[in-house]
């Protein structure tokens, strides 16, 4: 247990284990290597990550707050090149980090199984944060407002490009004209099968329904990919 540094991080730690040549036969199943979290009974807790994206003011914070205990999260981020385009840092030497606030909430399914929701920063200049947020994410909710549908284009593009399963949740603002899910799907030119859900981000049950649809969909997408990856002969078994 003294080797906690190597033990707790499967792949990250394995680089340091020079004497492991004899386990090469297991290379096809890296997750079976000793030291992964799953084998540690005490820490076998599971955390799943869901992102909530969409344009500014579309209700991301409201949705996260409706279904979970919401907390603000601060990150001090290195300004990326993308950020520098926006932030005029001329004459401000060494201004290399910026504070980004985002929302996050936790839903405890049971002891040892939690769902974490992250409201992604709305502004384009924080795109670089998305890469980290989306790593290992179960899926994403793209919140849309039919009066400003174009605001969610970047999020749709992003998740389609990264092949991250997402649902589009149309936040039905009272003053907005109602469109059917099909209209929204067509207007956004969504890939076939991407669910569109009409919701009220303020309403807990409505928010829950959005998340349920996402988890169901993410499961379907994942299963389909697994079948694809094992090839056509998989059907015979």
């Amino acid at each position: 247990m003294g080797q906690h540094d190597n033990r707790t991080f499967g792949s990250a730690g394995s680089a340091g284990r020079a004497g492991d040549a004899d386990t090469e036969a297991d290379a096809g199943a890296p997750d079976a290597e000793p030291g992964t979290v799953e084998e540690d009974g005490e820490l076998a807790a599971l955390a799943l990550k869901i992102l909530v994206a969409g344009g500014f003011g579309v209700g991301k914070t409201t949705l996260v707050g409706a279904v979970s205990e919401i907390r603000p999260l601060r990150t001090e981020e290195q300004l990326s090149e993308a950020g520098e385009l926006v932030d005029d840092t001329d004459g401000v030497d060494h201004k290399t980090t910026t504070t980004v606030a985002m929302d996050f909430g936790r839903i405890t399914i049971r002891s040892g199984l939690s769902l974490y929701l992250f409201g992604t920063p709305g502004q384009d200049r924080f795109w670089f944060l998305w890469d980290e947020l989306s790593t290992g994410a179960l899926g994403a909710v793209v919140l849309a407002d039919t009066r400003r549908l174009e605001d969610c284009f970047p999020a749709v593009d992003y998740f389609e490009h990264r092949r991250i399963p997402f649902v589009v949740a149309v936040n039905c603002f009272t003053e907005a004209r109602r469109y059917g899910a099909h209209d929204v799907s067509r207007a956004l030119d969504l890939e076939q099968g991407t669910p569109v859900v009409l919701c009220d981000a303020r309403d807990r049950d409505s928010g829950k329904e959005v998340l349920i649809r996402l988890v169901e969909y993410a499961g379907r997408v994942h299963t389909a990919r697994l079948l694809d990856s094992v090839g056509p002969q998989a059907g015979s078994g």
């Binding site: 247990m1 999260l73 001090e76 349920i212």
Partner: protein, 127 residues
């Protein structure tokens, strides 16, 4: 942090990375903790009370939070009211000192076990 005479608008009184001695990356192992990596106190990590007494206040605050419950990196940052980047560095110290253990989140390739997802869906319905 209640009753302070300045508010959040004033900005931090201590520059965030002053708490880490200027370090912006967890050291030597260089692991970047995921936001949902889970952190728990490591009773067998080899850190004793003496080692703990040498820790700074932020380190101890984080350790105290982990002690009450296994927490994600994001929760620790929110509860300790520290930027995530700072928490990552401090956690790196705690990990190296044998105070905590940190779980790697499940890699995406093996993510949704159908049984787990069903559990999540039922859990959401029951909320």
């Amino acid at each position: 942090m209640n009753g302070q005479w300045y508010d959040a608008e004033a900005g931090p009184l201590v520059r965030p990375y002053a708490m880490t001695g200027g370090r912006t990356k967890p050291g030597p192992h260089g692991v970047r903790f995921d936001l949902i990596a889970l952190v728990a106190v490591d009773p067998q990590g080899g850190a004793d009370e003496e080692a703990e007494s040498l820790l700074g206040p932020e380190h101890r605050a984080l350790l105290g939070l982990c002690r009450s419950e296994t927490q994600s990196v994001a929760e620790l940052a929110a509860d300790a009211d520290l930027p995530v980047g700072v928490v990552r560095v401090l956690l790196g110290d705690l990990l190296e000192g044998g105070h905590v253990k940190v779980s790697r989140p499940v890699p995406p390739a093996q993510l949704p076990d159908e049984r787990i997802l069903r559990e999540v869906i039922e859990g959401l319905r029951a909320l």
